[in-house]
């Protein structure tokens, strides 16, 4: 069975050259860093906060903080990992403000472990994403990932959506590598379990299901 490979690989030296120019006061170099990573920061922020306005604020605040603290960046990690760390913290603060009744932390512990064990084992259609139109699929994927606890969701997004390595994810979230691996496993298994009912093979043999009418591609 094929393995999953991370999908982002920026040449470190080029990134570091931009960082050094920005540290010397070259705002164009900093703008290039914004251009390079604004989409990633926005996605991460939306996944964590689940709110568009908050995500926009997080993009601005994270880059401004990075700009203000550039001199303190030690260049021992990638700039992107450092930036993600800032953005995750900003996003978690927003989430806490919106949901003061619930403690939001990346350290939420193991209570949900049973949720991760596969309860339903059913094969999926060969091309599950083609069972639905684009709008329906987006809706399914968003609702499903939003149901995960923030600590699991964040690890899954950094590792599997944004393509950070396990080590980079650990560094960005200030978690140990075993903690990242354990949360990642549980996040993946919980998502799989929740997607089962949408993607499993149907009884009629071809696995296809007609999209609901009036909801997307005409």
């Amino acid at each position: 069975m094929s393995t999953i490979q991370p999908n982002i690989e920026q040449p470190v030296s080029e990134e570091m050259q931009l960082v050094r120019r920005a540290k010397r006061g070259d705002d164009q170099a900093f703008e290039e860093l914004v251009r390079r990573y604004d989409r990633n920061v926005f996605r991460i922020a939306q996944h964590i906060t689940q709110n568009r306005e908050d995500a926009e604020d997080v993009v601005q605040e994270a880059f401004l903080k990075a700009y203000g603290n550039l001199a303190k960046f030690q260049e021992q990690s990638k700039f992107y990992t450092w930036l993600v760390r800032i953005a995750v913290n900003e996003a978690l603060m927003k989430l806490r403000r919106r949901r003061p009744e619930r403690t939001v932390s990346l350290d939420e512990e193991v209570k949900t472990e049973d949720d991760s064990l596969p309860r339903e084992v059913a094969d999926w259609s060969p091309n599950p994403e083609q069972l639905y139109n684009q709008a329906q699929l987006r809706d399914i994927l968003m609702r499903t990932i939003q149901g995960l606890p923030p600590g699991f969701r964040t690890v899954f997004v950094l590792r599997d959506v944004e393509g950070l390595s396990t080590e980079e994810t650990a560094e960005a979230l200030e978690l140990s590598i075993p903690a990242v691996k354990s949360r990642l496993l549980r996040a993946r298994l919980q998502l799989r379990e929740r997607l089962n009912r949408f993607f499993q093979k149907r009884g009629n043999g071809d696995g296809h299901r007609k999209p609901a009418s009036g909801d997307g591609d005409q």
Binding site: I4, E31, V34, H47, Q60, P118, D123, K181, L189, R192
Partner: protein, 86 residues
């Protein structure tokens, strides 16, 4: 190998982070255990679907609005910290 042992290694297996011997033990398990095969296959599909999903893309107009806001606030910040010499 028990199914629970397989499950514990699933993330390392999917990420290609196992030594050859452990990988081959897991491959052997998959060859006869249909349930683990399905869990492994559907977990891999879960990751691929999310990776290809392009949820929460940043629209171009919002993107340039955010970038201008960021850069003008950066310029303000610089002005405050480096007042021009008289």
């Amino acid at each position: 190998m028990k199914c629970s042992e397989f499950l514990n290694e699933l993330t390392n297996y999917l990420d290609g982070m196992l030594d050859a011997r452990t990988k081959s033990e897991l491959d052997d398990h998959l060859a006869w255990c249909h349930n683990c095969y399905v869990v492994c296959d559907t977990t891999r599909k879960t990751i691929e679907i999310y990776r290809n999903s392009e949820l929460y893309e940043l629209p171009d107009d919002l993107r340039s609005r955010l970038r201008s806001a960021i850069m003008s606030k950066c310029a303000e910040k610089r002005k405050k910290s480096d007042p021009p010499l008289e």
